[in-house]
Each structure stands twice: as C-alpha cells, then as structure tokens.
Symmetry: C2
Subunit: 179 residues, 2 copies
C-alpha cells in the first residue's frame, strides 16, 4: 500500500498505531489505519461413487497441475455458497454438500481453507475458464505427483482413508511453509 485509500496521501507507513501491538498500514495524512486480514478459500471435494473430481489449472500459480475446485470466498455469500459457486465456475460441477470436511490454516500466506465434501448430482461437469480439463479419478488414478497444493493433497488423502473407514469426520490441519 503506497497511498491512503481514504485521503490519497502518500504518507502511508507500516508502523504500530497507538494502542495497537503490531504494525499496520497507517496514514500520516488522515490517520486512517488500513487493516489487512487473512482470506478464506472455499471449495469442494466432489465425488461420484469411488471417484473424485479434479481440475487441471489453466491459471497461475501451478498452471497445469491438478486441484479440487476452490477459490476466494466473496463478500455477501456463506462459505458453503462460495464453495458451490467455485465448483460451478471452475468445473461446471453441481455438488450436493454432505458436510464441511477439512479446515486448514496456512499462516505464512494468510489463508484459511474451508473444503466441503459432496456428491456430484450429475455428470455434466466440464472445464470452466480457469481449468484446462476436469475429470473423475479413482484413488489409484489420481496424479499424486501433480497435485497443485499440499492442502488439496491432504484433503484427498483424508478422503480416501475415510472411505476405507466408512466414516467422514471433519479434519483440521495446518500447512507450514516448506523449509
């Protein structure tokens, strides 16, 4: 942030406001404090019988790698509505949500993921503008070495383990920066 979005001043510093305990984008012109907070990513794990739906990414980051449909939650929607919207946008997938399935914190990139598990209600899926390809995979068909993000790999691993157990609990996790 170079300029204050309230007054247009260029006197924005990253410093600790009075009464606070951490640096914020602080305007020396009008005194506005601009808070920047973590963002929520919402998505689904769509399944059909023993297969799950994955999207091959048409955009960076991780273009060409596979992921579950997910994206930034928008203002004015619930997390489940956002997850269904992203599933439609990226995979033209219609999903009947069973339940919230995984919650992951990724603190080094200031993200919280909420992933919902649900059955595909039809097979009319297909690539939206952010996907090169959308397909269903059995566990042994999953391109494990080409999964775009650790959160997605872990969510898939939980899913197939829970399928074997026959019960689907909520899983919480943290993805730490790779050292």
């Amino acid at each position: 942030m170079k300029f204050c979005s309230h007054c247009g001043s260029d006197a924005v510093t990253f410093s600790i406001p009075q009464g606070d305990d951490r640096p914020r984008h602080l305007c020396g012109g009008c005194g506005a404090i601009h808070y920047i907070n973590p963002r929520v990513i919402v998505g689904t794990l769509p399944y059909l019988e023993d297969r799950v739906l994955l999207c091959k990414r048409a955009i960076e980051p991780r273009l060409g790698l596979w992921t579950l449909p997910a994206g930034f939650m928008e203002n004015g929607e619930t997390s489940e509505e956002g997850a269904l919207r992203e599933s439609w946008e990226e995979a033209r997938a219609n999903v009947r949500v069973d339940d919230l399935y995984t919650i992951y914190d990724i603190p080094h990139i200031n993200q919280v993921y909420l992933m919902y598990r649900g059955e595909l209600s039809d097979t009319n899926f297909g690539a939206g503008p952010e996907s090169l390809e959308v397909a269903l995979f059995r566990e042994d068909e999953i391109p494990w070495e080409e999964i775009a993000f650790p959160i997605m790999r872990e969510t898939l691993e939980h899913y197939f383990a829970d399928c074997r157990k026959g019960s689907f609990a909520l899983h919480r996790g943290i993805i730490q920066r790779k050292l």
Copy 2:
C-alpha cells in the same frame, strides 16, 4: 475506497472488471483491482467445571453487553492461535483448546466465525483493555438477555445442550440479517 492505494488516483469506481462477474473497486488510473473479502473472527468458549467465561464489552458495538472472547484473525497466525490470542487480550484467559466447536457464516456483514472450545487452565483471568469485566457463569446465571451477538448466544446454547448430552460435535450455522 476513494483513492487507489497503488497509484493515488481518485479515479476509483465500483464497477465490474473485464472477465469478472461482480463489481470491484477498480482504478481508472493504473487499472488495479482492489478485492475486499470476508474477514475471519476467531475466539474461544472457555469453561471451568460447569461454568463458562464471558466478557462484558468495554467497546462499541454492543458496549456493556456480554460476549465470548473473540476478534479479527490476524495475518501470520493460525485460527487457533488467533483464538487464544484474543482470549488473552480480552479476558487474560489461558485456555487449553479441546477442539473447534462452532463455525458461523454471517454473510450480510461478510464475516466467518471460528469458535474453539477449551478448558481454562487457571483462574487468573481478568478484564483486558476491551472488557469492563470478566466472569464465570453457570447456565442459569448467564445474562441471556444481555448477550452481545446472536453467534455468541447460539454457541452458548449449543454448549449447554451438548453438556447435557455429554458429547461435543462441531456445529455449523448461518446468522441472517434480522428483517
């Protein structure tokens, strides 16, 4: 947003960028798109034997009403770390987290709440700068008519119902705008 935080231009409109499907704060000067997304509120339900800890708010909104300790999740922390930080800041409470307990969407104010349930590890709690008073309440002592926010009331109701059942599942909910 009146001015672009990238270039300082005052040509910021709230309009739909090319290739998008909803209005954003869009700079006519440099072309920057400024996304505004929901924020995450993290907190705890601290209990000790048959009582729960509540804070009387020293700040607006709902000054003077009671709430569970919670606040905006900060960049660089996990949701559980944020919940523990808020519990310390508002109530000087040390909480041993059992598990994530409630997740609420509040779409009309663009918020997602993540509330963790946990036992107080000591009774050295007390009012932080945002609280007038901090105290423990049995179910029949809770000032139900003076609870600051519906999400907190519902979380407390779930808790005491689960206490009677003897099991604590995750609860999801949506708080809609009052009509």
